[in-house]
Symmetry: C2
Subunit: 210 residues, 2 copies
Protein backbone atom coordinates (compact mmCIF):
# COMPACT_ATOMS: atom_id res chain seq x y z
CA UNK A 1 0.00 0.00 0.00
CA UNK A 2 1.23 3.49 -0.84
CA UNK A 3 0.86 6.51 1.37
CA UNK A 4 -1.96 7.57 -0.95
CA UNK A 5 -4.04 4.56 0.08
CA UNK A 6 -4.00 4.35 3.87
CA UNK A 7 -5.09 1.11 5.54
CA UNK A 8 -8.45 2.24 6.93
CA UNK A 9 -10.59 -0.19 8.92
CA UNK A 10 -14.01 0.64 10.31
CA UNK A 11 -16.17 -1.44 12.66
CA UNK A 12 -19.92 -0.82 12.56
CA UNK A 13 -21.27 -2.03 15.91
CA UNK A 14 -24.89 -2.18 17.00
CA UNK A 15 -28.24 -3.82 16.41
CA UNK A 16 -30.26 -5.37 13.58
CA UNK A 17 -30.44 -2.08 11.69
CA UNK A 18 -26.63 -2.05 11.58
CA UNK A 19 -26.70 -5.70 10.47
CA UNK A 20 -29.09 -4.71 7.68
CA UNK A 21 -31.83 -7.15 8.69
CA UNK A 22 -34.37 -7.49 5.92
CA UNK A 23 -32.14 -6.03 3.22
CA UNK A 24 -32.19 -8.43 0.24
CA UNK A 25 -28.84 -6.97 -0.86
CA UNK A 26 -27.23 -7.76 2.52
CA UNK A 27 -25.54 -4.37 2.71
CA UNK A 28 -27.70 -2.34 5.11
CA UNK A 29 -26.67 1.26 5.65
CA UNK A 30 -23.23 0.25 6.88
CA UNK A 31 -22.35 -1.61 3.68
CA UNK A 32 -23.77 1.20 1.57
CA UNK A 33 -21.70 3.87 3.33
CA UNK A 34 -18.54 1.76 2.96
CA UNK A 35 -19.24 0.98 -0.70
CA UNK A 36 -19.95 4.65 -1.39
CA UNK A 37 -16.56 5.78 -0.09
CA UNK A 38 -14.77 2.81 -1.65
CA UNK A 39 -16.16 3.39 -5.13
CA UNK A 40 -15.38 7.12 -4.78
CA UNK A 41 -11.70 6.20 -4.51
CA UNK A 42 -11.36 6.03 -0.72
CA UNK A 43 -11.15 2.26 -0.07
CA UNK A 44 -11.55 0.75 3.39
CA UNK A 45 -12.06 -2.50 5.20
CA UNK A 46 -15.51 -2.59 6.80
CA UNK A 47 -16.53 -4.94 9.59
CA UNK A 48 -20.25 -5.23 10.31
CA UNK A 49 -20.85 -6.10 13.95
CA UNK A 50 -24.58 -5.50 14.15
CA UNK A 51 -26.53 -8.16 16.06
CA UNK A 52 -30.30 -8.61 16.09
CA UNK A 53 -32.08 -7.84 19.39
CA UNK A 54 -29.00 -6.17 20.86
CA UNK A 55 -29.69 -3.43 23.38
CA UNK A 56 -27.14 -0.82 24.47
CA UNK A 57 -26.23 -3.17 27.33
CA UNK A 58 -25.50 -6.01 24.90
CA UNK A 59 -23.35 -3.78 22.70
CA UNK A 60 -21.47 -2.45 25.73
CA UNK A 61 -20.64 -6.03 26.73
CA UNK A 62 -19.13 -7.13 23.43
CA UNK A 63 -18.00 -4.08 21.45
CA UNK A 64 -14.41 -3.86 22.67
CA UNK A 65 -13.79 -7.61 22.55
CA UNK A 66 -15.03 -7.81 18.97
CA UNK A 67 -13.33 -4.65 17.70
CA UNK A 68 -9.90 -5.51 19.13
CA UNK A 69 -8.89 -8.26 16.63
CA UNK A 70 -10.33 -6.20 13.77
CA UNK A 71 -8.55 -2.91 14.48
CA UNK A 72 -4.88 -3.74 14.96
CA UNK A 73 -2.24 -1.14 15.69
CA UNK A 74 -0.91 0.49 12.55
CA UNK A 75 -4.19 0.87 10.69
CA UNK A 76 -6.36 3.98 10.64
CA UNK A 77 -9.26 2.68 12.65
CA UNK A 78 -12.70 3.92 13.60
CA UNK A 79 -15.91 2.71 15.18
CA UNK A 80 -19.46 3.57 14.13
CA UNK A 81 -22.09 2.80 16.77
CA UNK A 82 -25.86 2.54 16.50
CA UNK A 83 -28.42 1.10 18.90
CA UNK A 84 -31.45 2.12 20.94
CA UNK A 85 -34.59 0.66 19.34
CA UNK A 86 -34.27 -2.62 21.24
CA UNK A 87 -33.83 -0.62 24.45
CA UNK A 88 -37.26 0.97 23.98
CA UNK A 89 -39.05 -2.29 23.14
CA UNK A 90 -41.66 -3.60 25.58
CA UNK A 91 -41.53 -7.30 26.40
CA UNK A 92 -44.42 -8.61 28.49
CA UNK A 93 -45.25 -5.00 29.32
CA UNK A 94 -41.73 -4.27 30.56
CA UNK A 95 -39.24 -1.94 28.93
CA UNK A 96 -36.08 -3.81 27.95
CA UNK A 97 -33.81 -0.92 28.97
CA UNK A 98 -34.74 2.31 30.76
CA UNK A 99 -33.69 5.56 29.03
CA UNK A 100 -31.25 6.57 31.79
CA UNK A 101 -29.60 3.15 31.52
CA UNK A 102 -29.34 3.50 27.72
CA UNK A 103 -27.67 6.88 28.16
CA UNK A 104 -25.37 5.56 30.89
CA UNK A 105 -24.36 2.66 28.64
CA UNK A 106 -23.42 5.03 25.83
CA UNK A 107 -21.51 7.21 28.30
CA UNK A 108 -19.53 4.20 29.56
CA UNK A 109 -18.88 3.02 26.02
CA UNK A 110 -17.59 6.41 24.88
CA UNK A 111 -15.45 6.62 28.00
CA UNK A 112 -13.95 3.23 27.12
CA UNK A 113 -13.45 4.36 23.51
CA UNK A 114 -11.51 7.40 24.68
CA UNK A 115 -8.81 5.05 26.02
CA UNK A 116 -8.42 3.41 22.60
CA UNK A 117 -7.04 4.97 19.43
CA UNK A 118 -10.44 4.67 17.75
CA UNK A 119 -12.50 7.72 16.89
CA UNK A 120 -16.27 7.17 17.11
CA UNK A 121 -19.34 8.23 15.15
CA UNK A 122 -22.78 7.52 16.60
CA UNK A 123 -25.89 7.04 14.45
CA UNK A 124 -29.18 7.42 16.28
CA UNK A 125 -31.95 4.82 16.42
CA UNK A 126 -34.47 4.79 13.53
CA UNK A 127 -38.29 4.74 13.58
CA UNK A 128 -40.45 1.60 13.71
CA UNK A 129 -44.13 1.00 12.91
CA UNK A 130 -45.27 1.83 16.46
CA UNK A 131 -45.72 5.48 17.38
CA UNK A 132 -45.68 4.79 21.11
CA UNK A 133 -42.30 3.13 20.77
CA UNK A 134 -41.11 5.97 18.54
CA UNK A 135 -42.06 8.38 21.35
CA UNK A 136 -39.95 6.39 23.78
CA UNK A 137 -37.09 6.24 21.26
CA UNK A 138 -37.31 10.02 20.84
CA UNK A 139 -36.44 10.39 24.53
CA UNK A 140 -33.39 8.17 24.06
CA UNK A 141 -32.44 10.03 20.88
CA UNK A 142 -32.23 13.31 22.81
CA UNK A 143 -30.25 11.71 25.63
CA UNK A 144 -27.81 10.12 23.18
CA UNK A 145 -27.24 13.50 21.51
CA UNK A 146 -26.44 15.00 24.91
CA UNK A 147 -24.01 12.22 25.85
CA UNK A 148 -22.23 12.50 22.50
CA UNK A 149 -21.97 16.30 22.83
CA UNK A 150 -20.46 15.83 26.28
CA UNK A 151 -17.85 13.46 24.76
CA UNK A 152 -17.32 15.63 21.66
CA UNK A 153 -18.36 12.69 19.49
CA UNK A 154 -20.47 13.36 16.38
CA UNK A 155 -24.09 12.17 16.63
CA UNK A 156 -26.56 11.85 13.75
CA UNK A 157 -30.21 11.87 14.78
CA UNK A 158 -32.31 10.13 12.14
CA UNK A 159 -35.52 9.44 14.08
CA UNK A 160 -37.42 12.65 13.26
CA UNK A 161 -36.69 12.32 9.54
CA UNK A 162 -37.58 8.63 9.40
CA UNK A 163 -40.81 9.09 11.40
CA UNK A 164 -41.92 11.45 8.65
CA UNK A 165 -40.43 9.47 5.76
CA UNK A 166 -43.27 7.89 3.69
CA UNK A 167 -41.10 5.26 1.98
CA UNK A 168 -39.38 4.22 5.21
CA UNK A 169 -42.67 3.99 7.09
CA UNK A 170 -44.37 2.03 4.31
CA UNK A 171 -41.51 -0.49 3.92
CA UNK A 172 -41.27 -1.02 7.68
CA UNK A 173 -45.05 -1.50 7.92
CA UNK A 174 -45.10 -3.92 4.98
CA UNK A 175 -42.07 -5.73 6.41
CA UNK A 176 -41.78 -7.04 9.95
CA UNK A 177 -42.78 -3.75 11.59
CA UNK A 178 -39.21 -2.72 12.33
CA UNK A 179 -36.98 -3.22 9.29
CA UNK A 180 -37.32 -1.77 5.79
CA UNK A 181 -36.49 -3.23 2.38
CA UNK A 182 -33.43 -2.12 0.38
CA UNK A 183 -34.88 1.27 -0.58
CA UNK A 184 -35.50 2.06 3.07
CA UNK A 185 -31.88 1.27 3.87
CA UNK A 186 -30.89 3.47 0.96
CA UNK A 187 -32.94 6.33 2.45
CA UNK A 188 -31.30 5.87 5.86
CA UNK A 189 -27.88 5.79 4.18
CA UNK A 190 -28.63 9.14 2.55
CA UNK A 191 -29.45 10.65 5.95
CA UNK A 192 -26.17 9.40 7.41
CA UNK A 193 -23.95 10.16 4.41
CA UNK A 194 -22.96 13.79 5.14
CA UNK A 195 -21.83 13.05 8.71
CA UNK A 196 -20.14 9.83 7.56
CA UNK A 197 -18.20 11.63 4.87
CA UNK A 198 -16.95 14.31 7.24
CA UNK A 199 -15.99 11.79 9.91
CA UNK A 200 -14.51 9.24 7.50
CA UNK A 201 -12.33 11.86 5.82
CA UNK A 202 -10.88 12.74 9.21
CA UNK A 203 -10.30 9.10 10.18
CA UNK A 204 -8.71 8.44 6.82
CA UNK A 205 -6.37 11.39 7.12
CA UNK A 206 -5.14 10.04 10.45
CA UNK A 207 -5.80 13.37 12.14
CA UNK A 208 -9.00 12.50 13.96
CA UNK A 209 -7.69 11.35 17.28
CA UNK A 210 -6.67 13.78 19.98
Amino acid sequence: MTSQTPDVRICFVGDSFVAGAGDPQHLGWAGRLAAHSHTKGQPLTSYNLGVRRDTSSDVLTRWHTECTPRLPAGCRAGVVLSFGVNDTTLEGGTLRTAPDVSAANLHILLTQARSTAWPVLVAGPPAVDDEKQNERTAVVDVLFAQVCAQHQVPYVSVLPALRAHPLWRRQVREGDGAHPDDEGYQALTALLLPAWQTWYTTVRSGSSHP
Copy 2:
Protein backbone atom coordinates in the same frame (compact mmCIF):
# COMPACT_ATOMS: atom_id res chain seq x y z
CA MET B 1 -42.90 -14.55 10.53
CA THR B 2 -44.98 -17.34 9.06
CA SER B 3 -43.95 -20.97 8.82
CA GLN B 4 -43.21 -20.29 5.15
CA THR B 5 -40.43 -17.87 6.07
CA PRO B 6 -38.26 -19.51 8.73
CA ASP B 7 -35.89 -17.36 10.77
CA VAL B 8 -32.59 -18.46 9.23
CA ARG B 9 -29.32 -16.95 10.49
CA ILE B 10 -25.92 -17.78 9.07
CA CYS B 11 -22.50 -16.76 10.39
CA PHE B 12 -19.65 -16.61 7.88
CA VAL B 13 -16.45 -16.96 9.91
CA GLY B 14 -12.89 -16.77 8.64
CA ASP B 15 -10.26 -14.52 7.12
CA SER B 16 -10.00 -11.50 4.85
CA PHE B 17 -11.50 -13.38 1.89
CA VAL B 18 -14.62 -13.97 4.00
CA ALA B 19 -14.58 -10.29 4.98
CA GLY B 20 -14.43 -9.41 1.28
CA ALA B 21 -11.25 -7.34 1.57
CA GLY B 22 -10.74 -5.28 -1.56
CA ASP B 23 -14.32 -5.61 -2.79
CA PRO B 24 -15.57 -2.10 -3.63
CA GLN B 25 -19.14 -3.38 -3.16
CA HIS B 26 -18.37 -4.60 0.39
CA LEU B 27 -20.18 -7.88 -0.15
CA GLY B 28 -17.41 -10.42 -0.78
CA TRP B 29 -18.52 -13.96 -1.57
CA ALA B 30 -20.42 -14.25 1.71
CA GLY B 31 -22.64 -11.26 0.99
CA ARG B 32 -23.17 -12.42 -2.59
CA LEU B 33 -24.28 -15.91 -1.52
CA ALA B 34 -26.67 -14.45 1.05
CA ALA B 35 -28.07 -11.89 -1.40
CA HIS B 36 -28.50 -14.61 -4.02
CA SER B 37 -30.67 -16.76 -1.77
CA HIS B 38 -32.50 -13.75 -0.34
CA THR B 39 -33.47 -12.34 -3.73
CA LYS B 40 -34.52 -15.83 -4.86
CA GLY B 41 -37.18 -15.81 -2.14
CA GLN B 42 -35.26 -17.53 0.65
CA PRO B 43 -34.42 -14.65 3.02
CA LEU B 44 -31.88 -14.94 5.81
CA THR B 45 -29.89 -12.91 8.30
CA SER B 46 -26.19 -13.05 7.43
CA TYR B 47 -23.38 -12.21 9.82
CA ASN B 48 -19.93 -11.68 8.32
CA LEU B 49 -17.22 -12.59 10.82
CA GLY B 50 -14.22 -12.58 8.52
CA VAL B 51 -11.12 -10.90 9.97
CA ARG B 52 -8.00 -9.91 8.04
CA ARG B 53 -4.81 -11.87 8.83
CA ASP B 54 -6.73 -14.52 10.78
CA THR B 55 -5.18 -17.99 10.74
CA SER B 56 -7.03 -21.18 11.66
CA SER B 57 -5.75 -20.67 15.21
CA ASP B 58 -7.25 -17.17 15.39
CA VAL B 59 -10.61 -18.40 14.08
CA LEU B 60 -10.60 -21.30 16.53
CA THR B 61 -10.10 -18.84 19.39
CA ARG B 62 -13.01 -16.56 18.59
CA TRP B 63 -15.55 -18.42 16.46
CA HIS B 64 -17.79 -19.79 19.21
CA THR B 65 -17.73 -16.60 21.30
CA GLU B 66 -18.75 -14.51 18.31
CA CYS B 67 -21.36 -16.89 16.91
CA THR B 68 -23.16 -17.40 20.23
CA PRO B 69 -24.95 -14.01 20.48
CA ARG B 70 -25.77 -14.16 16.76
CA LEU B 71 -27.33 -17.63 16.65
CA PRO B 72 -29.87 -17.76 19.49
CA ALA B 73 -32.01 -20.80 20.23
CA GLY B 74 -35.14 -20.88 18.11
CA CYS B 75 -33.62 -19.78 14.81
CA ARG B 76 -32.43 -22.06 12.05
CA ALA B 77 -28.74 -21.43 12.35
CA GLY B 78 -25.65 -22.39 10.42
CA VAL B 79 -21.96 -21.59 10.22
CA VAL B 80 -19.84 -21.23 7.07
CA LEU B 81 -16.11 -21.41 7.70
CA SER B 82 -13.17 -20.43 5.49
CA PHE B 83 -9.51 -19.92 6.32
CA GLY B 84 -6.08 -21.27 5.44
CA VAL B 85 -4.23 -18.72 3.29
CA ASN B 86 -2.85 -16.88 6.31
CA ASP B 87 -1.69 -20.23 7.72
CA THR B 88 0.53 -20.80 4.68
CA THR B 89 2.02 -17.30 4.68
CA LEU B 90 5.71 -16.90 5.45
CA GLU B 91 6.70 -14.15 7.85
CA GLY B 92 10.43 -13.54 8.19
CA GLY B 93 10.97 -16.92 6.53
CA THR B 94 8.74 -18.72 9.03
CA LEU B 95 5.42 -20.35 8.23
CA ARG B 96 2.63 -18.78 10.29
CA THR B 97 0.91 -22.14 10.88
CA ALA B 98 2.15 -25.63 9.99
CA PRO B 99 -0.22 -27.78 7.88
CA ASP B 100 -0.77 -30.38 10.61
CA VAL B 101 -1.69 -27.58 13.03
CA SER B 102 -4.12 -26.08 10.49
CA ALA B 103 -5.77 -29.50 10.10
CA ALA B 104 -5.85 -30.04 13.86
CA ASN B 105 -7.46 -26.62 14.35
CA LEU B 106 -10.21 -27.48 11.88
CA HIS B 107 -10.70 -30.84 13.56
CA ILE B 108 -11.08 -29.20 16.98
CA LEU B 109 -13.42 -26.58 15.56
CA LEU B 110 -15.68 -29.16 13.91
CA THR B 111 -15.66 -31.19 17.11
CA GLN B 112 -16.80 -28.10 19.01
CA ALA B 113 -19.44 -27.42 16.36
CA ARG B 114 -20.84 -30.92 16.78
CA SER B 115 -21.85 -30.00 20.33
CA THR B 116 -23.85 -27.00 19.08
CA ALA B 117 -27.02 -27.04 17.01
CA TRP B 118 -25.19 -25.41 14.10
CA PRO B 119 -24.55 -27.28 10.88
CA VAL B 120 -21.31 -26.29 9.14
CA LEU B 121 -20.14 -25.75 5.57
CA VAL B 122 -16.42 -25.26 4.91
CA ALA B 123 -15.07 -23.31 1.94
CA GLY B 124 -11.44 -23.97 1.08
CA PRO B 125 -8.71 -21.33 0.85
CA PRO B 126 -8.33 -19.50 -2.49
CA ALA B 127 -5.23 -18.86 -4.63
CA VAL B 128 -2.92 -15.86 -4.26
CA ASP B 129 -0.30 -14.36 -6.60
CA ASP B 130 2.51 -16.58 -5.31
CA GLU B 131 2.78 -20.09 -6.71
CA LYS B 132 5.01 -21.30 -3.89
CA GLN B 133 2.38 -20.27 -1.37
CA ASN B 134 -0.34 -21.84 -3.54
CA GLU B 135 1.65 -25.11 -3.39
CA ARG B 136 1.67 -24.92 0.40
CA THR B 137 -2.05 -24.05 0.44
CA ALA B 138 -2.74 -27.07 -1.79
CA VAL B 139 -1.40 -29.30 0.98
CA VAL B 140 -3.74 -27.66 3.50
CA ASP B 141 -6.62 -27.90 1.02
CA VAL B 142 -6.24 -31.69 0.84
CA LEU B 143 -5.95 -31.99 4.62
CA PHE B 144 -9.05 -29.85 5.15
CA ALA B 145 -11.02 -32.05 2.74
CA GLN B 146 -9.98 -35.11 4.73
CA VAL B 147 -10.92 -33.57 8.09
CA CYS B 148 -14.32 -32.49 6.74
CA ALA B 149 -14.97 -35.96 5.28
CA GLN B 150 -14.15 -37.46 8.65
CA HIS B 151 -16.70 -35.13 10.29
CA GLN B 152 -19.27 -35.59 7.50
CA VAL B 153 -19.19 -31.83 6.87
CA PRO B 154 -19.37 -30.56 3.28
CA TYR B 155 -16.13 -29.08 1.94
CA VAL B 156 -15.73 -27.00 -1.21
CA SER B 157 -12.23 -26.91 -2.64
CA VAL B 158 -11.75 -23.78 -4.76
CA LEU B 159 -7.96 -23.61 -4.96
CA PRO B 160 -7.42 -25.64 -8.16
CA ALA B 161 -10.09 -23.70 -10.05
CA LEU B 162 -8.82 -20.31 -8.86
CA ARG B 163 -5.18 -21.13 -9.61
CA ALA B 164 -6.25 -21.66 -13.21
CA HIS B 165 -8.77 -18.81 -13.33
CA PRO B 166 -7.41 -15.97 -15.56
CA LEU B 167 -9.69 -13.25 -14.18
CA TRP B 168 -9.05 -14.20 -10.55
CA ARG B 169 -5.30 -14.36 -11.09
CA ARG B 170 -5.22 -11.06 -12.94
CA GLN B 171 -7.30 -9.17 -10.36
CA VAL B 172 -5.26 -10.57 -7.47
CA ARG B 173 -2.02 -9.64 -9.23
CA GLU B 174 -3.25 -6.13 -10.04
CA GLY B 175 -4.56 -5.76 -6.49
CA ASP B 176 -2.54 -6.38 -3.33
CA GLY B 177 -1.35 -9.84 -4.41
CA ALA B 178 -3.97 -11.69 -2.39
CA HIS B 179 -7.42 -10.15 -2.89
CA PRO B 180 -9.38 -9.66 -6.11
CA ASP B 181 -11.76 -6.91 -7.18
CA ASP B 182 -15.53 -7.40 -7.31
CA GLU B 183 -15.48 -9.61 -10.41
CA GLY B 184 -13.03 -11.95 -8.72
CA TYR B 185 -15.34 -12.25 -5.73
CA GLN B 186 -18.18 -12.91 -8.15
CA ALA B 187 -16.16 -15.74 -9.72
CA LEU B 188 -15.45 -17.27 -6.30
CA THR B 189 -19.14 -16.95 -5.42
CA ALA B 190 -20.02 -18.93 -8.54
CA LEU B 191 -17.68 -21.73 -7.48
CA LEU B 192 -19.27 -21.90 -4.04
CA LEU B 193 -22.88 -21.47 -5.13
CA PRO B 194 -23.87 -25.11 -5.84
CA ALA B 195 -22.61 -26.39 -2.46
CA TRP B 196 -24.09 -23.34 -0.70
CA GLN B 197 -27.50 -23.90 -2.24
CA THR B 198 -27.60 -27.58 -1.24
CA TRP B 199 -26.41 -26.85 2.29
CA TYR B 200 -28.56 -23.74 2.77
CA THR B 201 -31.70 -25.55 1.64
CA THR B 202 -31.07 -28.18 4.29
CA VAL B 203 -30.38 -25.59 7.03
CA ARG B 204 -33.46 -23.67 6.02
CA SER B 205 -35.68 -26.75 6.14
CA GLY B 206 -34.53 -27.40 9.72
CA SER B 207 -33.58 -30.98 8.84
CA SER B 208 -29.83 -30.55 8.62
CA HIS B 209 -28.78 -31.38 12.12
CA PRO B 210 -28.34 -34.95 13.28
